[in-house]
Subunit: 405 residues, 2 copies
């Protein structure tokens, strides 16, 4: 008789953003006239830039013509895109990452959750607390953790690294050496960044101990300060200990278009085994590539026109972040992030729990945010707002919040 | 220290189609003038139909406009697409599959390889021999099999069901009861079909034993005979024992566009546990949906215009299949499949092994096919050709093959 993977039963409740969506839908159904401002899920609102829609139209025409039609994509992704990524995201920053070390995919979420498959089930993982839930949940599903401890709100067997106002939301190196270390900077949910010397300490630690850093750089495009690394490969030695994930979702508004990539240096090893061939095998066996038209869209963000338009879009979101951050501060809230990231991390009002504050904002202000506790127990009492709304909605949200503050 | 998933090391050589691609590339580089006819990998060659390119252009315009832009898709896929699938692929055939039981994805390959994750590692799997390699390889990677036995060319712990000319390439129910049964009809690679009464026996067997059938119906659109089921849910009781995978790749030439879906009935259980919530959780945690524009493209194949154009495309490929089948037969080859499927399954020439015949065809005839042994030891001495080339190339391939037959 068939049996299920019982590790799934360890997962408490539903996936955070699905849970939020359900709550908001319920509220909307009961209050059909409500004018809800959504600053919850990290979804963009600005339309695709003209360079991208032009590339898409062109590629669609190619696909409709027998002479230029393309079927299955190459396993790693089209060379035109991998070359553009290697040149623009790496070589231009002095990082020696070749096109063959880049695996194009349908997004960083898939890659961040699938990467654990190429590691043994006996690896210990370390994550920040609070943390993007996908890193932990994908390891729970695989059986790489113990049960969920309701009291601690943590899974047994996972090394949690608290990120608090006290450490500037940058984790300290843990006492116990983890095998796999998930780091995301600029951080989701706190909006914090790691300076280059801070990240270098992690690289040195991983090299010394044979750990692998799984570096999620999905928010790299929002970095506005010069001493914040855009890639972990800016740190010497990172090729020996790090895998990097990048996304077009936040950089260029591809959340509904789906494109990302993962970098695995060819010489990167876990113990004596190279990781590149394992990921190549996984990619070839379990995946069939991102759509040709979307890969062309990705290439277009690296053209002169595309780069200028992307910069404009990011600047717009960072303006929203400033509006929200400053507005919250002037309303008396304690506020973090928002300078090199699209996320604003705030303390809740009057000592409310994160979910109490969620309900308060939804019901009293018709604003949707994300409860900090949904990202881990160290996020309790915090709340995440995103800068991905429109400027108008960012201003209106602040006006509503100030209404009775 | 990080360690790898050593199950990957059990996999012999590289993924079949990657291996073929490498061999063909090497030959092309050494023979730059060679006029190679590719009838190997099951990739389509006809351009996207006008109904689809029109839908894509419209959707791209929507994505470039702030008023109509769409970010993250709903977890299960857009309702407009799931409704179209439910109505056209199921309700029209008397199958009671609701839109909420349909999970839209980037293709059947991903789903077929990921589905095993929601089952326990102690489940035994049964596959046809020969078989599409993804079913077995994904289970090897997960650790659900033993080592590879070089002599037998089979993984220990897997139940292989030989499909031979003797049983019409339809497997017999095995003595040992498997927990998970992978079936693919119309079959890849043999092109064989199961009649409804044959499939019903499998459904009855699975229900009686608590097994789950994982039914890959990717080639359903090629069925031309009336007593061949298009969906396993045409069999009574299948909702209690079957998951079905469907693809837009072969139906409408989406190999480079990426779209498929999986059906999990809400009441389907493994033992006492429902499977739908597990797959929903996986979808929500590890995946972010197929692109909006591609989901609109999928919807377009169900319009009157789209259906007519799809029918025309399929008819063209089936014409190729007939040209190849009849040509091979008149050249003295033993030939199967090709009537309800885009695949022609043939005996090699003069007792050659499958890979010998591959090399012979590549080097002497500049034709690329797929060695039958790549699909399993029962495929040794067989070879797969696809009808997905152009009509011109199908005719030219047969002319070349007849050249010295």
């Amino acid at each position: 008789m068939a049996t299920i993977n019982r590790n799934y039963l360890k997962l408490p409740g539903s996936y955070l953003f699905s849970m939020i969506a359900k709550k908001v839908n319920e509220y909307s159904e009961m209050n059909p006239g409500a004018d809800i401002i959504r600053l919850g899920i990290g979804d963009v609102t600005k339309p695709l830039i003209p360079a991208v829609t032009k590339a898409l139209h062109n590629a669609v025409d190619e696909m409709g013509n027998a002479e230029t039609f393309r079927g299955y994509a190459p396993d790693l992704g089209y060379e035109f895109l991998r070359n553009a990524i290697s040149d623009n995201d790496y070589k231009s920053r002095g990082c020696d990452i070749s096109p063959d070390e880049i695996f194009v995919s349908d997004g960083a979420k898939s890659d961040c959750s699938n990467i654990q498959e190429i590691f043994g089930l006996d690896n210990t993982i370390a994550v920040c607390d609070p943390v993007y839930p996908v890193y932990v949940d994908s390891n729970v599903m695989a059986g790489r953790t113990g049960d969920y401890d309701e009291a601690l709100q943590r899974f047994k067997g996972v090394i949690y690294m608290p990120c608090t106002a006290g450490n500037g939301f940058v984790p300290e190196i843990p006492d116990e050496v983890p095998d796999l270390i998930y780091l995301c900077f600029p951080n989701n949910p706190t909006g914090a960044v790691m300076k280059k010397d801070q990240l270098r300490e992690w690289v040195d630690f991983a090299r010394k101990n044979g750990s692998i850093i799984l570096y999620d750089a999905a928010y790299e495009a929002f970095i506005s300060e010069s001493d914040v690394p855009h890639s972990i490969y800016e740190c010497e030695g990172a090729r020996e200990c790090a895998i990097e994930f990048k996304s077009f979702s936040k950089t260029a508004g591809f959340t509904g278009l789906r494109l990302g990539y993962t970098v695995i240096p060819k010489d990167l090893k876990a113990g004596t085994e190279r990781l590149w061939p394992l990921w190549e095998r996984r990619h070839g066996t379990k995946y069939n590539g991102a759509p040709y038209i979307v890969q062309r869209a990705g290439e277009a963000i690296y053209s002169d026109e595309g780069r200028a338009q992307v910069r404009g879009q990011i600047a717009g979101y960072l303006e929203n972040a400033a509006i929200i951050s400053e507005g919250l501060m002037s309303a008396g809230y304690e506020v973090y992030g928002g300078a090199n990231a699209p996320y604003i991390w705030m303390k809740t009002k009057d000592g409310m729990t994160s979910w109490e504050f969620f309900d308060y904002l939804l019901k009293e202000k018709q604003i949707v945010g994300t409860p900090g506790s949904g990202f881990g127990p160290a996020g309790e009492g915090y709340f995440r707002l995103t800068a991905f709304g429109t400027k108008e909605n960012s201003i209106r949200a602040i006006d509503r919040l100030k209404g009775d503050s």
